[in-house]
Every structure is written in C-alpha cells, then in structure tokens.
C-alpha cells in the first residue's frame, strides 16, 4: 500500500492531498469519538484513582483498587461475572450454531432470510420486559412448572428462579439470537464448491465439517462470542431482575456505588476492571475475528 521509494514529486503531492481529503472526511466521526468517548473515559480513569467524592475531595492513590482486590464482596463479584460470562458465551455459541447451520443448509435459499428473521424476532421485545417475562415463566406458578406438573413429570414445582441458572437463561436467550445472526453471516458466505471438492476427494461429512466448514465459520463464531462476552459482562438489567441478588455481578456492584453510595470513583474503578477483562477477551479472540480478512 505504500508508494514506491522512487515516487515522483507530483505523485507525492497527490498522495498527500489524497490523505488530507481522507482525513478531512474521517475527522467529524473521529472528533465525536474523541470528545465524547475517549476524553470521558480518560476522565473516568483519573477519577478511579481518587477515593472519596472525586478530584478535589478525596486523596489520590490506589485506594479504590486496593479495596477492590481485598474485599471479598468485590473479588467474588469479579469471579461470578467471569464465570457467568464464560458460561453464557459458550452456551450461546453452542445453541446458535445448530440454529444458524440449519437455516443455512436445511432451508431453501429463498426462504432463508425469512427463517432468520423469525429466529430473531423476539430480539425486538423490550430487553427489560423480556428479562422480567423469564422470571414469570420460571416461577412456581409459571408456564414451565405448570406444564411439567400437568404432564405429571413432577409433583412439586421446581425452584427455577433466582439462581445463577436463571440469569444465564435470560442472557443465553438474548445471545442465541445475536450469535445466530453472526454465524449465519459466515456460513452463508462459504462457497459450497469447497465442500463439494472435499467430498470429491474422499472426505466424509464429518471431516468436511471439521476441516472446511468450521474454520470458515470461525469469524462469525468469534465475533458472536466476542459481542456476547462484552455485552454480558457489562449488563446490569438481567442479573438484577433474575438473580435475586444472590450473586451480585460487577455491573450490579458498580450501579450500587453510583446510586446508593454516591461513590463514583469506586464505580469508575470497577468499570476499568471491566474494560481490562474485555481487552483480554479481545486479545484472545482477535485472531479468529479478523482471520479471514484480506
């Protein structure tokens, strides 16, 4: 992409003008990003190093972080968040893949988009209300228990609510739909001739799947997994409604700091920890997300 070392002066001038024009077009978006995202994030980062009410009131230091790593309530929140997020990510991908695969391969091409839309339709109910709906579905008087009792499979209602599993169910429900979209996007781009060629050369269906389909679907899987990870670890609504406060996750603790304690610096420190977790996840998955590009 770089110009040859023997570029002539007019070419260099044209290149500079080209770059300048490009930058000018990119500038508004970049500016917005810097002013309303980077600077606030930096401000928040600075605030996280103040204890007490913030700059001008508290003292500078690693107090908040020290408190975070020494208080069992906080470290367990980090542990729970990571555990729940990983479980949700794995389950969502495991359930979304067959769904995406079935739509991409078992449905007529002209009907595939319709099925895809049907599969993600509930995406568009209010996120908040959908979480609440799960609570009602899983309650002792709710649909699941009532159906199981009518079918005589159980005699007493099962305790399905206010567990970690309840929160996970609420999350997985949402992310199965999201991952289906990303995985379908990758699967539908796979050239079927590659699979035919593998079959011609004697590969079994299983081998074709492992050696051709899965690697080519990797970008869709990885980007779905990454999005799931990022959104889950920062989500406050689902665990708040479904978890029964039994295992407080990082976002819930952060919101507690903001609303009940008025301790914004501590909330800032918690957010920084969250960002570090997400960065770690990105570094792990980056290879597969951008893998097939160029």
């Amino acid at each position: 992409m770089t110009l040859a070392a023997t570029a002539t002066a007019p070419e260099q001038v044209a290149a500079r003008r080209d770059a300048r024009r490009g930058l000018l077009l990119t500038a508004p978006a970049l500016l917005w990003c810097v002013v309303f995202f980077v600077l606030p994030f930096a401000t928040m980062l600075v605030w996280s190093f103040y204890s007490g009410g913030g700059p001008g009131e508290g003292s500078l230091g690693l107090d908040n972080y020290r408190r975070f790593f020494t208080d069992a309530s906080y470290t367990s929140a980090l542990r729970y968040s990571l555990e729940v997020t990983l479980i949700v990510t794995v389950l969502s991908v495991l359930l979304a893949f067959p769904l995406a695969w079935a739509i991409a391969t078992q449905v007529r091409p002209d009907r595939q988009r319709l099925w895809l839309m049907l599969a993600v339709l509930p995406f568009w109910t209010s996120y908040v209300v959908r979480s609440y709906a799960w609570l009602l579905v899983l309650s002792p008087d709710g649909v699941v228990n009532q159906t199981l009792m009518t079918l005589r499979l159980i005699t007493e209602p099962l305790e399905l609510s206010f567990h970690r599993a309840t929160t996970v169910t609420g999350f997985v429900h949402f992310f199965v739909m999201l991952c289906t979209l990303t995985i379908y996007a990758s699967l539908s781009r796979i050239d079927p001739r590659l699979q035919l060629a593998a079959a011609d050369m004697g590969a079994s269906g299983w081998q074709t799947f492992w050696r051709i389909t899965l690697p080519l679907a990797a970008p869709g899987i990885a980007s779905g997994a990454f999005l799931t990870f990022v959104v889950t670890i920062g989500d406050f609504v689902t665990p708040q409604i479904l978890g029964g406060n039994n295992e407080l996750l990082l976002p819930q603790i952060a919101m507690l700091q903001i609303t009940r304690r008025g301790d914004i610096p501590m909330a800032a420190a918690l957010s920084v920890v969250m960002v570090l977790c997400v960065s770690a996840a990105y570094l792990l998955l980056a290879r597969w997300i951008t893998g097939a590009r160029r």
């Binding site: 309530s73 367990s76 309650s139 002792p140 407080l248 609303t259 008025g262």
Partner: protein
C-alpha cells in the same frame, strides 16, 4: 447491466439526513411546550401514580416531575449529583430528617399551613421533625417492616416467632427486603436492642444473625421483586415485608397476610418537606399541602406501589380500605414497633458495607 445503477436517483443524501435530524430535534424541543410552572420532587415510589399527580395539576396548574429512589442513600446521591435548585420537594424518612437538616437541605415550614392537629401524637413526633424550634418536614405516611407471609405455607404462629427465620425449617423459603436499615433494625430487636441506640460495637452480633437469615433466603429484592416472589409462590415469607407488600394484592391473593413479630417489628414513617435552595417554594408548599389533604392522603395510602397508613386521620378512605389497612389496630401496632435506626455517617457506612458483604454470599 451495472449501468442501470448510474441513475442519479433521489437517494437520501447526507444533507437530507442532516435536515431530518435537525427537524427531529426541533420537533422534540417544540413538543412539551408547557408554559406552566413545574416542580421537581424526589420521592418514594408511592408518589408516582399518575392519577395522584394529575389531580394536583388539574387543581393548581402546577406540573410535578417525580424521581423515585429506593432508599435515603440513593436520594442523597441524586441530590449530590445535581445542582442546587434541581429539586423542590423532598419526601424523606422521618428518622433521616435531622441528618438532612444538618446538611442544610430542607427549608423551614410554617406549621399553621398544614393540618398538624389532624395528625395523631404518636405520628407527629416533633423530636424528628422539629430542629432548633423550627419545623422542617411534616409526617405523611407510615407503616411497618415486619413479616409478610403466605398463610397456606407458613402458620401465623411461625410468622410471629422471629426465631423461625433463623432456624432450619425456613431453609430456602424466605426472602429479605433489600433495605439495610429496617432489616438490621429487626435483627437488633430480635437481639433485644433498640434500633435507635445501635453502635458500631453492636454490628458483629447483628452480622452473625444476618448471615444465618441470609443462609435461609432464596432471594433479596426490592418492593416489586419481593411482591412478585411472594405472590407467585417463590418465597413463603418476607422479612421486612408488611402491609405495604401485600395490601394491594390481598383482593386477588387472599392467602397473603402480614404480622408484627412478638418481639416487636419496625415502623417506617415518611415525611415531606421543601428543599432549602428550591426556587419555587410557593408551588412546592402547595404540593405538600395537597399531599396532606384528605384526598391526597387517601390516594397516597392506596398507591399502586405500596399501601400504608396516612398520617392525616381525616384521610378520605373507604371503610373497606380502612379494614385492609387495619385502621383500628394501629395504636396497638405502634406500641409494638420501633422506628428505623438513624445512624451517623460513619455507622451508616459500616452498616452498608456489612449489608453488602452479607447479601453477596461467600
């Protein structure tokens, strides 16, 4: 071929979209073009019923914006995050009025403007609302954080025995209301201490009992989550629940009831005042008067968020509503209940830290 795409069709150019965006913004600015006066009130959720607020606006042409909070700490955070003059009316627990006055947040009120004589002495409690001879808030509603339970799953005798919630037979059956002040108060009463007299040295003993209770609890939740849990059978008993939890549901779910433990329960009481740096004190005072009027009190007592006893004995309630609220048993209840703790800033912080560590299992 591709050439057909060459048509300079009318596509939504960026310029058109910018105009649309600006139009949308100006439409929004133009919409709530209320020339009327507006006041901002920081309240418990029982003040958010639209019928309640609209009746006031219809009478006085003053619009009321409400923001509800789940505890005094949250309310104070919201005040801190804003600027002076952001809020005009403050509904705050009676037991917190003194500390709020110390922060210079409330304005002085003229007792003659309010129906003080219609408020029974047991509720009027000048020691909470009058500081340095000046009145800063008027009591408006009270009730109990005691035990709400399902009559078909837990007997009245079990509900009245506070030791039931600490014992093995309660395992996985109870819920806890997510507000540290009354629940810590209830545990203090179980240990024979008065909530108002708690010191930091009392906390370890309280923590031990809280951990026992937490071990039996299926969930800890706010007003509606605990209501839902009780109404749908997910818990059989709610510590910190009271008439505020079940009164609104009893018509449909007659199996729900509430009771004060034999050792005594906790009484909550809300007061209402005008913010010191409000720029609309006259309008704010009008709202306070409305809340204390017989109609306002009746609406407040039966609000959709939670029910409770009105402070004004002349509240316009129907006999059926009075029966649900146990109007005639109130004197006995008040005698058998204690007000919330009013901790100092340091003790409050210690209590909140302890609460978080108990709620977060492990």
């Amino acid at each position: 071929m591709k050439m057909s795409r060459f048509s300079p069709s009318a596509s939504p150019s960026p310029l058109r979209r910018l105009t649309l965006a600006l139009a949308a913004c100006t439409a929004f600015i133009g919409l709530p073009a209320h020339a009327q006066e507006t006041i901002n009130a920081l309240v418990w959720c029982d003040h958010t019923d639209e019928a309640f607020l609209k009746a006031f606006t219809a009478k006085t042409k003053i619009k009321v914006n409400v923001k509800d909070y789940e505890g005094t700490g949250t309310a104070l955070s919201l005040i801190e995050q804003g600027k002076p003059g952001d809020w005009d009316v403050f509904v705050v627990d009676s037991t917190d009025v003194r500390s709020v006055v110390a922060k210079k947040l409330l304005a002085e009120l003229d007792p003659k403007a309010f129906p003080m004589n219609d408020i029974p002495a047991a509720v009027r409690l000048p020691e909470y609302h009058v500081v340095g001879g000046k009145m800063y808030a008027v009591p408006q509603k009270f009730g109990y954080n005691a035990i709400a339970y399902d009559k078909t799953k837990v007997t009245a005798a079990q509900a009245k025995d506070i030791n039931y919630v600490f014992g093995a037979s309660a395992k996985n059956k109870i819920g806890i209301y997510d507000y540290y002040l009354p629940v810590i108060g209830q545990v203090a009463v179980a240990l024979g201490k008065k909530p108002q007299d708690l010191k930091e040295s009392d906390l370890p003993a309280i923590r031990a009992k809280l951990v026992e209770m937490r071990g039996n609890a299926r969930m800890v939740g706010d007003v509606v989550t605990t209501q839902t849990a009780l109404a749908t059978g997910q818990i059989s008993l709610l510590v910190g629940g009271g008439e505020y939890t079940v009164a609104g549901l009893m018509a449909e779910k007659p199996n729900l009831d509430w009771v004060l433990p034999d050792v005594g329960g906790i009484r909550w009481q809300q007061a209402i005042g005008v913010m010191a740096d409000s720029k609309k004190k006259a309008a704010a005072t009008q709202f306070v008067q409305y809340v204390l009027s017989p109609e306002g009190q009746a609406a407040l007592a039966t609000s959709s968020c939670y029910w409770g006893m009105p402070a004004n004995s002349k509240a316009a309630l129907t006999p059926a509503q009075k029966k649900t609220l146990r109007w005639d048993e109130q004197t006995a209840f008040i005698a058998k209940s204690f007000p919330y703790p009013s901790p100092s800033a340091a003790l409050d912080k210690a209590m909140q830290d302890m609460w978080l560590s108990v709620v977060q299992k492990k």
